[in-house]
Amino acid sequence: MKTRQVTSWAASAGTGFARACVVLVLSMIVPAVWAAAVALAIRWGAGNPWSWLPVALVAPVATLALSRPVCRMFRSLIARWTDTVIAPGYRQAPPVVLMSTGYWWNGFSYERTSRDARLDQRWRLRWNDPANWRDLRFTAVVPLTAGLLAAIPPAGVAAAALGMAQPAVPARLIGLAGLALAVGSAPYAWRCVEPVAVRFLRASPAMELAERVDELTAQRADATIAQAAEIRRIERDLHDGAQARLVGLGLSLATAEKLMETDPEAARALMREARAGAATSLTELRELVKGINPPVLNDRGLVDAVRALALDSPLEVTVSAHERLRLDPPIESAAYFGTAELLTNAVKHAHATRARVYVARDDTGIVVTVEDDGRGGADERPGGGLAGLRRRLAVFDGTLDITSPAGGPTCVRMAVPCASS
């Protein structure tokens, strides 16, 4: 029993020592750059203002460049050593788009080439991103806190090595004390890095809220644009289709009325035409209604609506679903139209012959997965169908994951958080 305790303690001291060394090295990278710059300046002559140029210029740039990778390392190490996950929360760059004027728009400004646009975008994002400033702050704080504490075990070992090498007794005693300090502190010295990271590297609740507000503002704008486009489409369809046909119908009937006395045969032909016109406009209205709110979706909910889609698709589609679920109508409709679009893509772009649709609920919401056996290579172009789908799902905080290697197969997963009734 005792030996086992001793071995396990020794093991934790060993890993603790190694972790402390890693924390020390990582946290000292940026201070080391500054120290090197200062050392260089003194060597070149402290009186010469030019020799301080590295300190004024090189060290800050190096800090800016190093802070992100250093923080990334800290985040992944902390996630591996403890269960604390710290989200990076960097802002994502919007896609760079070629406008009809020939200029590139990067979300902030117009540039002449896509390279310029990307460069400009990267600097602006860096400068405006709160996560970036958090990284810099952490890089400054960590050497003085976790770095200093993590330095204790290596320092103890160094003291022991130096002290034991001396013949004098007091020096040896100091060496012995250093060894005891190193061994005693090894399992604990690295642990300070986690609370420091939580305090300085994780976004504060206020910051997270601010980010969330920005996100929601963008979502609202997207939703408004999507809705306006949809209303324009419906208006256009009604105007060009059913409305025009009804006008024609009225005209035919008026003419038939006139001809009734003089030319009954022609009147009858016109009436037949009018009946055909009425049938056609009914068909058009039906298609329009189906595009706005599919009747089966309304009647039966998502699972049966997807089954109906599968029956109508030219592909061989199998649908797996655990239960008949009813969701909020807008979410149901988003999931339905998403599935319809993905199946259409599978036919049109992937040239698939069969597809599988899984509809499932988990603790957080609804997940619809569409797989096909097509040629893959689906990419998300700005303004394309997949980007539009992502935007429509984002309105509900939903996500879209696309796996589509060239050569296939394509698997797309739509997840929308919701509570079902």
Binding site: A278, L282, R286, K290, V296, R307, L311, D312, P314
Partner: protein, 215 residues
């Protein structure tokens, strides 16, 4: 024939009743909601019922559910579903029990009164009346397509009309061909599809649809 009409829109219900009576049939009851429909069907046991899919109280598929429930009570009760839209899923549900005497048509099929009454009579006689739109989808969808490739274009159109529920004579009328030509086509396509021939029109349609539904 004694007919029950279940439709919630007054104008359409009234128009249909007039049309049916103009052709010399009797409308014994009308219904405007799902529960009323079920009640009327069970109470009157009509020769055929005309039922709308979407009805109050929920304005979803109440009518279809009532018809399916009534057919579960009274197997083979003839039902003609008239809907604003045709949906393969619902057509398959209607055909699922295999007893025939069902129809599924678009509402505008009443525009052509002769064909509508003809469909009613066919369903009442135990046959089927399916909308061409449903049949076109059934014939074009997925699994069975490859085996249907063996049919000629003419055989394909004969098969569609047969699946709608038409008799050889009616098919001949639609395609402007002679009866004997149609029976030649049906024999050859039955051979190609390995279906056993049968002069009962209902069994014939069911055999075709069952074949199409095969995975």
């Amino acid at each position: 024939m004694r007919i029950v009409v279940a439709e919630d829109l007054y104008l359409l219900r009234d128009g249909m009743v007039r049309l049916i009576e103009a052709y010399g049939h009797e409308v014994v009851a009308t219904a405007t909601t799902g529960p009323e429909t079920l009640e009327a069907l069970l109470a009157w046991r009509p020769d055929v019922a005309v039922v709308d899919v979407r009805m109050p109280p929920t304005q979803s598929d109440e009518g279809l559910r009532a018809a399916l429930a009534a057919r579960a009570e009274l197997p083979g009760l003839p039902v003609l579903i008239l809907s604003q839209y045709v949906e393969q899923l619902y057509a398959r549900e209607l055909l699922a029990d295999g007893t025939g005497a069902v129809g599924y048509l678009l509402k505008e099929s009443v525009f052509d009164a002769d064909q509508f009454i003809d469909a009613l009579e066919r369903v009442a006689a135990g046959g089927t009346a399916m909308d061409p739109a449903v049949i076109a989808k059934l014939l074009s969808s997925g699994s069975s397509t490859r085996r249907l490739d063996r049919l000629t274009e003419r055989e394909h159109s004969v098969l569609s009309l047969m699946a709608e529920g038409l008799s050889n004579q009616a098919i001949a009328g639609r395609l402007f061909l002679s009866d004997s030509a149609i029976s030649k086509y049906t024999t050859s396509l039955f051979g190609k599809l390995a279906l056993t021939d049968d002069d009962n029109s209902n069994r014939r349609v069911l055999a075709v649809l069952a074949y199409l539904n095969e995975p």
